[in-house]
Assembly symmetry: C2
Homo-oligomer: 112 residues x 2
DNA sequence: TGCAAGATTCTACAACATTAGAACAATAAG
DNA sequence: CTTATTGTTCTAATGTTGTAGAATCTTGCA
């Protein structure tokens, strides 16, 4: 990964709203590598995150607690995906997100 | 530290030029905590960084290899300082920078 | 088939970021 | 003292980002 890629990752996390979205996903779905998609949403701490009680509908739930328009949130998801931080899949009305832990690891690595 | 503080840190690192400046400082002066200011510039790998051969004049040397105006670089230094990532001191024509490793650590902490 | 709900895309615009240049202040060197 | 060097600040131009709303697409359900 090049410097430009890292700056892109940091840019994706540089907006407070987007960082909040990322952390909501990260803190709830940072399943061990190898976990099948669809099982990612394991609630770790319901008190700190409003994405609760369900494994899917991440988008809608995040919309419900974010006070931003859907289009804006969709845009933020795209930015996070584009930086490689998350991957998203739609399967019908189920919206599944997964944090790309390799990328998170490489940030930590980058910072030595 | 709050979410907003983290987003500010990430914003400081979100610009490629500024990230480059930060890394030049980081890779050359990440001295152990407690090291006195003025002894931070220990060259670790001269081949990957153009800040060479001296402990001070960081500003000038970074200018020399950055292809940006002095005023722009000064501005970038300010952003990095404002985010808490570095501290700078001038003593005459000696410009000394230090990476705030606590902040770097707290990023790593945040991402885990 | 038709309607409702979920998510995306397009458009537009205000706000903010990046940048250089000129003027300046502080220091060093001759 | 004068001149060159170093870094800051101000101003202004240009480019990028964050955001909402309307239109659109996709899926599920009656």
């Amino acid at each position: 990964m090049k410097l430009k890629d890292y700056s892109k990752i940091f840019k994706a996390l540089s907006n407070e709203q987007r960082l909040k979205i990322f952390m909501m996903i990260y803190k709830n779905c940072c399943a061990p590598k190898g976990t099948v998609v669809g099982a990612e949403f394991r609630i770790k701490d319901e008190s700190t995150c409003c994405v609760k009680g369900s494994l899917d509908k991440a988008f809608t739930k995040i919309c419900d607690c974010m006070n931003l328009s859907r289009s804006t949130i969709s845009h933020h998801f795209k930015e996070l995906q584009s930086a490689g931080l998350i991957t998203c899949e739609r399967e019908g009305q189920t919206y599944r997100c997964k944090v790309n832990e390799d990328v998170v690891d490489s940030i930590k690595d980058f910072l030595k």
